[in-house]
């Protein structure tokens, strides 16, 4: 891959190489009696191999088709921008210390208007210069842990992240912020909730639904909310900090085991399911929404249990589902299966025998509901009662995704099936609540 001709391939790449031009050069393209002039722009990986993209003088990009008669000549070099950061805001003394650990979801960046490239900014000074409000909230330390899309994160990443967060906490920070892509942020929040027990300070995951390069991005305000929560929230739990509504007003703090992404694109995509959020950040202040939380206390000693068993599956039941899907998992050596059943926790009778066989082979099978909202109850109908009799564990009001993460974590800690079954049904990190109140 030719870096100086990023994204170009095939015949167009040949033409550009032969013409000895690279991205950022001012070039002239001749095609018969038509001439174009502009700066050579990188081509998107998805683009075809027939067009050259240039930025013309008015700032617009256009694609010029390369044909037999196309001639490209370099007529100059547009100077690459040299970034001179604006003066940093004065750091206030005596502020709480907060670590920001980045996993790949960029939360701040700069646009190179010359080529359209968006460059992430992650050093503390970069963050301060782009989001100057942070310097009023906390003294920040930053670390880039991963640079991956959130859909590419695996339980191995959760383990590493948990260990890294623990390291920062052991250095005495007042809170930790984890920047994260939003797609799987709920899973990571649940994973950290189980892997980091008896937390002395809060751990706050934060993301953005609008990319950070745009003026309307929610990234900066979410980050300010997250850092505020990490710096001064009264609780010490794993939470997700995101917009409460589509307005840029309050940042709500969802408990890591109860949060789910419920919209593909809205700023307020994350909601607490079957419970209340813990608190929100409004005008820089933490507003508690419940008194039931684990208190911040730097004297507490963190219990780090970062192991996860990956041979666990989350299977969504659907009408007509083939029992062989369950059989396959058992044969493939899966140790735990969360079934997302219908309604109160049901599946068709035709797959009963496969579930029974799985349990007999020592697979931990548990039931959550695909309704998302509400509690599983397997006593109401025969189907439910039969499944419980087989040994399926009803998961009450636990989110299916949280249940998956929890079973991975449990099987990472113990091989004892009975103990695992008990742990699964026991509330460890607010993932199960015994009563549901009407929150609408």
């Amino acid at each position: 891959m030719n870096e100086s001709l990023s994204g170009y391939k095939g015949r167009v790449l040949d033409v550009l190489v032969k013409s000895k031009v690279q991205v950022g050069d001012l070039i002239r393209i001749n095609k018969g009696d038509i001439t174009y002039e502009g700066i050579l722009i990188p081509r998107s990986e998805l683009g075809d191999d027939k067009h050259i993209v240039i930025k013309i003088r008015s700032g617009y990009n256009i694609g010029v088709e390369v044909t037999e008669e196309t001639k490209v000549t370099k007529i100059g070099v547009e100077k690459a921008p040299a970034f001179t950061p604006p003066a940093l805001p004065a750091q206030k003394p005596g502020l709480p210390k907060v670590s920001i650990i980045s996993t790949g979801g960029t939360i701040a960046s700069r646009v190179d208007y010359r080529t359209g490239a968006v460059r992430p900014a992650i050093s503390a000074s970069d963050l301060y210069s782009i989001v100057p409000e942070l310097s009023d909230v906390a003294a920040i330390d930053t670390q880039i842990l991963f640079s991956v899309f959130s859909e590419d994160l695996t339980p191995k990443h959760w383990s590493k992240l948990a260990v890294t967060v623990a390291e920062h906490i052991s250095q005495g920070v007042d809170g930790v912020v984890v920047t994260h892509g939003t797609d799987t942020m709920g899973y990571t929040a649940a994973a950290l909730s189980f892997a980091l027990r008896n937390l002395p300070v809060p751990v706050v995951l934060v993301g953005a639904q609008r990319s950070e390069d745009r003026p309307s991005s929610d990234a900066a305000s979410n980050l300010i909310g997250a850092v505020s929560a990490a710096a001064k929230a009264p609780f010490a739990e794993v939470v997700v900090a995101m917009h409460e509504t589509i307005s840029d007003e309050s940042i709500v703090l969802h408990r890591g085991t109860k949060v789910r992404k419920l919209h593909t694109s809205r700023r307020d995509a994350f909601k607490t399911v079957n419970a209340q959020p813990i608190a929100k950040v409004l005008d820089g202040q933490i507003v508690k929404l419940t008194d039931d939380y684990l208190k911040r206390d730097k004297e507490k000693s963190l219990i780090l249990q970062p192991k996860f068993e990956e041979k666990v599956a989350l299977i969504k039941f659907y009408p007509g589902m083939d029992s062989k899907i369950i059989d396959w998992h058992v044969e493939a050596g899966y140790k735990g299966i969360i079934i997302e059943g219908t309604g109160l926790g049901h599946v068709r009778q035709a797959i009963f025998h496969s579930i029974k066989k799985a349990i007999e082979k020592g697979v931990l099978v548990a039931m959550a509901s695909q309704c998302i909202w509400g509690r599983v109850n397997m006593n109401v109908y025969t189907t439910g009662r039969d499944l419980v009799a087989m040994g399926v564990v009803p998961l009450q009001d636990m989110l299916a995704e949280t249940a998956l993460v929890k079973i991975m974590w449990i099987l990472g800690q113990t091989q004892d099936k009975e103990k695992a079954k008990d742990l699964l049904a026991t509330n460890l990190a607010y993932e199960i609540s015994s009563r549901t109140v009407d929150t609408n």
């Binding site: 008015s58 700032g59 617009y60 990009n61 208007y113 003026p215 309307s216």
Partner: protein, 637 residues
């Protein structure tokens, strides 16, 4: 003032924006309509100026952000979806709109680009929820010929219209997002227009080409011109949002005059020996000195707990009140700046202070505090300390610019052809790719297919209108320049009404109605067709048309038949007409007796006065004649 425009080096470039009449918006499936009344949905946002790699931010935008400016967006679910709310990525570029832009490119001899790339143009005044406007170049390097001169067309672009501002309250600005994402075509000329009149003509020529596509919206606000005006010794001024094409020459003329006046102020200041560092930002708090003032404005402000600050403008005496163009003084320009940067209601300057009711001793006191001498001026502002400080800084900044000549700025146009300060001119357009919308390849086949079906150019239209419909040349030209040329053919084809009458209604009658304040633009094509259909079927009369049109503008979703019913303008039946005539003859027996058939004209007048719009004159005439001749026979017997 008579100005030799070539001598002052006038250069004008136009950016014509025209809304397209597409079924859907540019990047979503919403209808491109506006809503009235209370918004169904509101939400509050802040726009954060993004830094470029060069570390630059737009100073005006950054200032507003630091001040905590918030935007309250208003929406309703019929005209906006999550896309306009910036809660969902844009859908693909509207192909109907793209095709129109390609047609316009071909009609202006511009070369369609091979691949269209949608860009984000950073705009953070709140008019776009995203903080940028989505825009793309579709055609380049075209030209049109106006009065024998070739005017280059630099770009044909397709872009989304912005949200419309509906108000401001302190630091909260309100925008309505119904208009956001409505497709706009932008035609940009080179800066080669050298007179105000030429600017107007070029704008008309472009308008004609756009209308010839038959795919553009019509009515107030659907066409907007930005003018880039400069003179040799002055500055490049961008004048935004001109809606009335006939105003263009006036606006350009005023702008030249404004710049010349500012240059003469500059010369006067130089003559008075003012140097830039003499203009100091130091302001004085004079609140306590004016505690007992009789000046109502200041009294009220102090009563609200606000403060009064004053700043000296050395050697500016007499210049603040000097008229640059009608109703615009240097003092007005300073007040505009103070309002923009300091969020204040206005300023009081020494050239106009006489009308404010300040006592002589108060003035003396202020002058003493500021050390104001004979040739000096001063400015007062009453507001919160922060606002007053920002406002007076803007005033002194503008004063320093006066010493240099004409400051570059973006101005908005007023209905009288004058302009007002909007904001400093943004730096080079900050554009970067809209990665959420994939580029679109424009194939050679597609272009040649479009080329073969180009709409009739409007110069041909006049010829055709004359030949085919028998319009006279004047009427044909008027129609060609009106917004109704697109619907005219259909009206003629679908109704049995005479083409000349339809053309005259669409031009002269509509013009007259507009002059009377009737918002004719509101009448839709479908309603127009309905009106002329009824006329063709003799369900109403020609005389009733203006009333029906007027009623329809006030009852937007109603049909022409409803209009006729509501107005009682249906043609009365023959039986009714004969009853009416009989009654009128009875009531005017004397006249009939004395004048006999000679009473026809008089009786005709009586009927028409009473039943105008409900009867057809020929018919009345015929019935009356018949009756009178019967009566005559009777009396002879």
């Amino acid at each position: 003032m008579k100005v030799d425009f070539s001598a002052v080096g006038l250069k004008v470039g136009l950016e014509c924006h025209q809304q397209l009449a597409t079924k859907e918006k540019l990047f979503c499936a919403c209808k491109p309509d506006l809503f009235k009344g209370e918004p169904e949905i509101t939400f509050l946002r802040r726009l954060r100026p993004t830094q470029s790699e060069l570390g630059q931010t737009d100073p005006a935008a950054y200032f507003e952000f630091l001040k905590g400016v918030k935007i309250l967006y208003e929406a309703d679910s019929k005209t906006s979806c999550l896309v306009e709310m910036d809660e969902e990525p844009p859908h693909e570029l509207n192909r109907e709109a793209l095709e129109t832009a390609l047609l316009v490119s071909l009609m202006t001899s511009a070369e369609p680009v091979d691949e269209v790339h949608v860009m984000r143009k950073v705009v953070i005044d709140g008019s776009n929820t995203t903080g940028f406007q989505r825009t793309c170049v579709v055609g380049m390097n075209g030209s049109i010929v106006v009065d024998g001169k070739t005017v280059p067309i630099q770009h044909i672009s397709l872009e989304e219209d912005a949200a419309r501002k509906t108000g401001a309250d302190g630091l909260t600005v309100r925008y309505r997002i119904d208009r956001l994402c409505v497709p706009l075509i932008e035609v940009t000329t080179g800066p080669v227009i050298y007179s105000p009149e030429e600017a107007r003509k070029v704008a008309y020529a472009i308008g004609r080409i756009l209308r010839a596509t038959r795919r553009v919206k019509r009515g107030i606000g659907t066409i907007r011109q930005d003018l880039n005006v400069s003179i040799s010794d002055g500055a490049l001024i961008e004048i935004k949002g001109v809606q009335e094409l006939d105003l263009i020459s006036q606006i350009v003329e005023f702008e030249v005059q404004r710049q010349l006046s500012l240059l003469s102020i500059r010369d006067e200041l130089k003559k008075r020996g003012l140097s830039e560092d003499e203009i100091r930002d130091d302001s004085a708090d004079v609140t306590s000195d004016l505690a007992k003032t009789g000046c109502r404005v200041i009294q009220k402000a102090i009563g609200q707990g606000k403060k009064v600050f004053a700043v000296k403008l050395p050697k500016f005496s007499g210049l603040l009140g000097k008229e640059l163009i009608p109703n615009l003084r240097l003092g007005t320009e300073m007040a505009d700046r103070a309002r923009f940067w300091g969020r204040v209601g206005g300023i009081i300057h020494s050239d106009e202070i006489a009308s404010y009711g300040l006592a002589e001793d108060e003035l003396c006191l202020i002058k003493r505090i500021l050390k104001v001498e004979q040739q000096d001026a001063f400015v007062l502002v009453a507001d919160t300390e922060e606002n007053a400080f920002d406002a007076l800084r803007a005033v002194t900044e503008r004063a320093r610019e006066a010493l240099k000549g004409v400051p570059e700025e973006t101005r908005g146009s007023n209905p009288d052809g004058t302009t007002r300060y909007m904001r400093p001119r943004p730096g080079a357009a900050r554009m970067y790719p809209e990665t959420d919308v994939p580029p679109i390849t424009i194939s050679k086949d597609y272009v040649s297919r479009l080329r073969s079906q180009l709409p009739e150019p409007l110069e041909k239209t006049v010829e055709r209108l004359i030949k085919k419909y028998g319009l006279n040349e004047k009427l044909a030209r008027q129609l060609q320049d009106s917004e109704y040329v697109a619907v005219f053919d259909e009206l003629v084809e679908r109704t049995k009404v005479s083409p000349t009458f339809i053309a005259a209604t669409l031009t002269e009658t509509f013009k007259a109605l507009k002059r009377d304040g009737v918002e004719v633009d509101k009448v839709t094509d479908d309603q127009l067709i309905g009106v002329f259909e009824l006329l063709g079927l003799e369900k109403t009369s020609k005389e009733a048309i203006p009333e029906i049109i007027t009623w329809l503008t006030k009852n937007e979703s109603s049909s022409p038949s409803e209009a006729i019913k509501a107005l009682g303008l249906s043609i009365i039946s023959e039986q009714e007409l004969s009853n009416v005539v009989d009654e009128i003859i009875r009531n005017n027996e004397d006249a009939v007796r004395t004048k006999g058939e000679g009473a026809l004209g008089f009786l005709m007048g009586v009927v028409m006065k009473k039943y105008r719009g409900k009867v057809k004159p020929d018919q009345v005439n015929a019935v009356l004649k018949e009756r009178l001749s019967k009566l005559k026979k009777k009396s002879l017997h």
